[in-house]
């Protein structure tokens, strides 16, 4: 996981690998601590994430909810096809903004 601060109270986060039980266990504390305490609106690059299971969905939903309560946003972008399908099956794509490209994600973050 890499974090790049952006202008304003925004950040880009690049996740890599698998958001399965082991992967979420490794990054969840850092992911939450990076964004939630200061209500940092974030765009999350999923292009290098090749697997998301329910624990990964739970992590993203709970961070999106915590940020929403602070008036901040979570925007996901560039999911691989199989990952996008999981978001759709779990109805997450109706709740969290997902964009195809980084520029669209940035626009959604700032809009």
């Amino acid at each position: 996981m890499q974090t790049h601060p952006l202008e304003g109270n925004h950040a880009k986060v690049v996740l890599r690998g698998r958001l399965d039980a082991a992967g979420v266990d490794r990054i969840e504390a850092k992911f939450v601590a990076t964004l939630v305490p200061h209500g940092v609106s974030a765009m999350v690059d999923l292009s290098q994430v090749d697997f998301v299971a329910s624990l990964g969905l739970r992590m993203l939903i709970s961070v999106a909810r915590s940020l929403a309560r602070k008036g901040a946003r979570l925007v996901l972008f560039a999911p691989q096809d199989a990952v996008r399908e999981v978001f759709e099956m779990a109805l997450v794509s109706e709740l969290i903004t997902i964009r195809e490209s980084e520029s669209e994600a940035l626009a959604a973050l700032q809009g």
């Binding site: 399965d20 299971a53 329910s54 909810r65 099956m89 779990a90 997450v92 969290i96």
Partner: protein
């Protein structure tokens, strides 16, 4: 060879999350060997993860020796994933999927795993016999649409 043979593999999972991580590695070796297409492979991995982690986390309320076995069967047009455990009787299909949330505030974080399994499965069946739960999920090789 013109006829696809049925191939079976068994993965035994020790009953903790470290054991799960090793079992997930073993699954990936089997799936590499089977050379499944991306989508059925993703679905088999998801079904394995969701069901087995559920059994490990919630399937046992005492300290009995845990026996968790996953039987993988590759057929010509589908893969069958059967998870057997000696935990407490539990039919994950008895619980309805969470309701469609209207906002992130209402979004459920429980029940997502079994919801994914239901949507990915071609067929799914629960049995309890000889003090074991057996959940069998079939994944079509070429699922149509979602």
């Amino acid at each position: 060879m013109t006829v696809m043979q049925t191939i079976e593999q068994v993965i035994r999972v020790s009953g903790d999350m470290d054991g799960f991580a090793r079992a997930a590695e073993a699954l990936r070796v089997v799936l590499d060997d089977w050379q499944l297409a991306e989508r059925p492979r993703y679905r088999v991995e998801t079904v394995f993860e969701e069901i087995v982690t559920n059994v490990i986390k919630y399937g046992y309320t005492d300290d009995r020796h845990r026996v968790i076995e996953v039987f993988l069967t590759r057929k010509a047009d589908e893969v069958e994933v059967a998870v057997e455990d000696n935990g407490d009787p539990f039919d994950p299909l008895a619980r309805p999927d969470p309701e469609r949330p209207i906002s992130i505030e209402d979004a459920p974080i429980g029940g997502l795993g079994i919801m994914l399994v239901r949507k990915m499965a071609g067929a799914i069946n629960y049995e309890r016999s000889a003090d074991r739960n057996r959940l069998t999920v079939t994944i079509p090789m070429a699922p149509a649409g979602g």
